[in-house]
């Protein structure tokens, strides 16, 4: 199993459009992907789960992936967060 930790820098947090993009990106991979914020862990492909994480701007999230394309999946999710969900600011 592989894992990474990233910080949400997007203004609205892992909500709204960023949450949708995050879930849609995770759904492209066959690996099982879990995301943890604080004490809550959820399926990274579940929008309802990701919203209930309540990850605001500045939140540290941990992403774990297991499966054939785990490495690619983590790389894609990391890029998405680091590129601030494709927004300049």
């Amino acid at each position: 199993m592989l894992e990474i930790t990233v910080i949400i820098i997007h203004e609205v947090g892992l909500h709204a459009r960023p949450a949708s993009l995050f879930v849609q990106t995770a759904a492209k991979y066959s690996s099982d992907i879990e995301v943890t914020h604080g004490e809550i862990t959820t399926n990274a492909k579940s929008i309802l789960g990701v919203l209930t994480l309540g990850a605001h701007k500045g939140a540290e999230i941990n992403i774990k992936a297991e499966g054939e394309d785990a490495e690619e999946a983590l790389k894609a999710l990391e890029q998405l967060v680091l590129n601030n969900f494709g927004e300049d600011e």
């Binding site: 203004e11 709204a16 949708s20 879930v23 929008i47 309802l48 919203l51 209930t52 605001h56 701007k57």
Partner: protein
């Protein structure tokens, strides 16, 4: 005639009949099934149909009200395809042999309740979304398609407990005059939609909404957050003329809002905005703000579980200060304690929190809290016009101690090789009577003052503004408060320093002539008030304002002052 009130969510006045949006409840029965595969097939068909409907709703809403309001339907699609939701539903159908309607309803409801339990306005709105999309799918399963929206045939004010995106997409916008809902806040779907359409809205009215019957005549005041049911002839005429006058004045005020605030005899003052986050920047610029007179830094500390880092603060302050270029942006250091609490900052309970360890007192006693903010501000102020201001200063010593910590931070940053602002102006808020009285001494150790009238009034009158029984006494229009303000302005001017005001009074048209006459240099207010303030200042003379202020100081009560201003400066009466 009766009036009820709620949260003003979108400006303007609407007059028309009520269209009570009564969504028929869907009745969900629970029973055992024999063929789970057939049941699952029904669900897949209903989901597919729901998808098509959501795509259509997206397109229609995008055309009518823009992309922001439409985006919600894409989020709803993702919710309906949520693998966790589908798994839970599938288990109930296949293992418990529960009918699909009951399984879907219970699962969606459980997610909605989890989202509501987080107690966040944004997530509560998502609870509404999951309920909305599951009801749509349930209606498809049950074959019921009626929407009350189809009955809207004449221009009306929409009245509802809450409006879901699916409800609003079906409303014929040509027949909507305004919105009134029992639930929701200023960022609810209804509020966003109303602002997108430029229609007035009052939300969060509560159970009082049940007083409104379908077809009743209503007046909806989106500025004050008031709804008048069955207005009498007098009220109707009053609101019609206010509506007409308001639109005319608004158009005139907005037309001049990017021009400077200069009196008819050439005296210019600065009109700036109070903002609370990065999103406020554009609103302030659009409203004609000449800078920011109060940037509340609390936004970075709220709704989270740990302190924001220096880096995060730096990024935010810099983004805002850079957006205004060489126009001033005044950052106020963390102002918590009193009635403002932050759970992860350990603040012991106090008998008198308003007289306790709040604002600068808290910061000075907690360097681990204060220093990252000062460092972030010094770094962010490089290459723009960021200024720093400290709240709740009571003594000259408070300023000297604060300056010491600030210089320590500046030294550290330089050693670490950071670019820092060398010439950053430092100001204080004048909100404690001792600071107002000592303004002559204080103006020697700071670059500017900003008067906080909300606190200054409550401390001067010894009346808690959060206690409804005495809040009236804590009025900024008390002659005692104006006399203190005059003393502060005179003391600062004789030391060559300028004075601003960032309390609610700065944007109150009744107060502006007096403050102007007393010599106030900068007025900082919420952006929507800016066009009206500029227009008022441009319509009166400084000389007249000076005479009016002098007379007002000699009156005996806040009521006498208000009545006097209304009489001698008729331009203050816009509503």
């Amino acid at each position: 005639m009766k009036s009820i009130s709620g949260i003003p969510a979108s400006y303007g006045i609407a007059i028309g009949s009520a269209f009570v949006f009564d969504r028929a409840e869907i009745v969900i029965e629970t029973y055992s099934i024999k063929d789970p595969a057939a049941e699952w097939k029904r669900f897949e068909e209903a989901r597919e149909k729901t998808h098509h409907q959501l795509d259509e709703a997206y397109q229609k809403t995008k055309d009518d009200c823009g992309e922001e309001a439409a985006e919600i339907f894409n989020a709803q699609k993702l919710m309906l395809e949520d693998p966790e939701l589908i798994n839970t539903v599938k288990n109930q159908v296949e293992k418990d042999l529960t009918n699909i309607e009951s399984a879907l309803y219970k699962t969606a409801e459980s997610y909605a309740q989890q989202l509501e339990a987080i107690n966040d306005e944004y997530l509560s709105a998502r609870a509404l979304d999951i309920r909305d999309v599951s009801s749509r799918c349930l209606r498809n399963l049950l074959g019921t398609t009626d929407s009350p929206a189809a009955a809207l045939k004449i221009p009306s004010i929409i009245v509802a407990r809450d409006l879901t995106p699916s409800d609003t997409v079906l409303l014929d916008k040509d027949f909507v005059l305004g919105f009134c809902t029992a639930e929701g806040g200023s960022t609810s779907h209804t509020a966003i939609l109303a602002r997108g359409l430029g229609l007035p809205a009052v939300v969060g009215v509560g159970t009082a909404i049940e007083d409104i019957q379908n077809g009743e005549e209503l007046v909806l005041d989106g500025d004050a957050g008031v709804i008048v049911i069955n207005p009498d002839q007098g009220a109707l005429e009053e609101f019609s003329s206010r509506q007409e006058k308001f639109y005319k004045l608004q158009a005139e005020a907005e037309a001049i809002t990017h021009q400077p605030a200069v009196t008819t005899d050439g005296h210019q003052v600065e009109i700036v905005a109070n903002i609370g986050n990065v999103e406020g920047v554009q609103t302030a610029l659009d409203a004609g703000a000449e800078g920011v007179g109060l940037l509340r830094s609390e936004f970075l500390y709220l709704e989270r579980s740990s302190l924001p880092s220096e880096e995060e603060q730096y990024q935010n302050y810099k983004t805002i200060a850079d957006a205004f270029g060489d126009k001033p942006v005044i950052l106020r250091s963390l102002d918590v304690g009193g009635d403002k609490d932050i759970p992860y900052i350990d603040m012991p309970a106090e008998t008198n929190p308003f007289l306790g360890v709040r604002a600068i007192r808290l910061c000075l006693s907690r360097p681990e809290l204060f220093k990252p903010q000062l460092r972030a501000a010094l770094r962010a102020g490089y290459g723009n016009n960021l200024k720093l201001m400290f709240p709740m200063v009571a003594t000259v010593d408070d300023v000297l101690k604060t300056r010491e910590v600030l210089e320590e931070c500046r030294g550290e940053l330089k050693n670490e090789g950071f670019d820092v602002a060398d010439e950053m102006d430092i100001g204080i808020m004048i909100e404690i009577p001792s600071a107002a009285i000592m303004a002559d001494q204080l103006s020697e150790v700071v670059d500017f003052f900003s008067i906080g009238t909300n606190d200054l009034s409550q401390y001067t009158l010894a009346a808690d503004r959060t206690n409804a029984q005495v809040a009236q006494i804590a009025s900024g229009f008390q002659p005692a408060v104006f006399r203190l303000i005059k003393g502060v302005i005179d003391a600062a001017h004789s030391n060559g320093k300028w004075v601003g005001l960032c309390g609610e009074m700065a944007g109150e048209l009744l107060a502006i002539p007096i403050l102007l006459g007393l010599g106030l240099d900068e007025f900082s207010m919420n952006p929507p008030a800016i066009p009206f303030a500029k227009q008022l200042i441009r319509s009166i003379s400084f000389k007249h304002a000076q005479q009016v202020a002098q007379t007002a100081l000699d009156l005996r009560s806040d009521t006498e002052i208000r009545e006097y201003i209304q009489k001698v400066i008729p331009e203050v009466n816009i509503g």
